[in-house]
């Protein structure tokens, strides 16, 4: 649920999206990509939620890890389907986490 990330600094990729109507294979490939991302060097975790808006925040050790994941061939293929089939609109933000704190009951 809430990702167990190490002490900052580390990186966040904030992916915010609005889906097109219908599934078009999205759910299956989305699960595959979550599993594949988790196997990449430098992956630290992911948090995701969707209502009308979907937010997926993945955490990474450094910019190099993010770049390598972006260049992964299966991920590139999935991203292309994202633009052609799955997303009405999206925004990607690459951010350096400088500070964090949490709370547990």
């Amino acid at each position: 649920m809430i990702a167990h990330t190490p002490n900052p600094p580390y990186y966040a990729v904030i992916f915010t999206s609005v889906r097109t109507e219908g599934d078009h294979g999205y759910a299956e490939v989305s699960d595959q990509m979550d599993q594949l991302a988790a196997q990449q060097p430098g992956y630290l975790g992911v948090e995701t939620a969707r209502n009308e808006l979907g937010i997926n925040v993945s955490y990474w050790k450094d910019l190099e890890s993010i770049k390598k994941w972006k260049e992964n061939i299966d991920h590139t293929h999935a991203r292309n389907r994202g633009r052609s089939e799955w997303y009405e609109s999206f925004k990607v933000r690459i951010a350096k986490v400088e500070r964090d704190y949490g709370f547990n009951r």
Copy 2:
């Protein structure tokens, strides 16, 4: 929906949370805080989604704007209720957005 943020750099506050059972006044105060945040100097926008996990990403001009909003008295009161009533657990991450790009159909 997707926040219209300016060109980077700017800041993101990634607030990830798991709610307690029941509302306990959460929905009303949450709306009030969204409206109050939007009136603060340096506020750039917000994106939010919730399933089992809730993700709220607010965007800010700089760290000073984030600090001022954290010190706002109504916001401080709401945050105290968050710890005592509304959240099972949460994590706050302060991150500097270094790069962004988007897509619209």
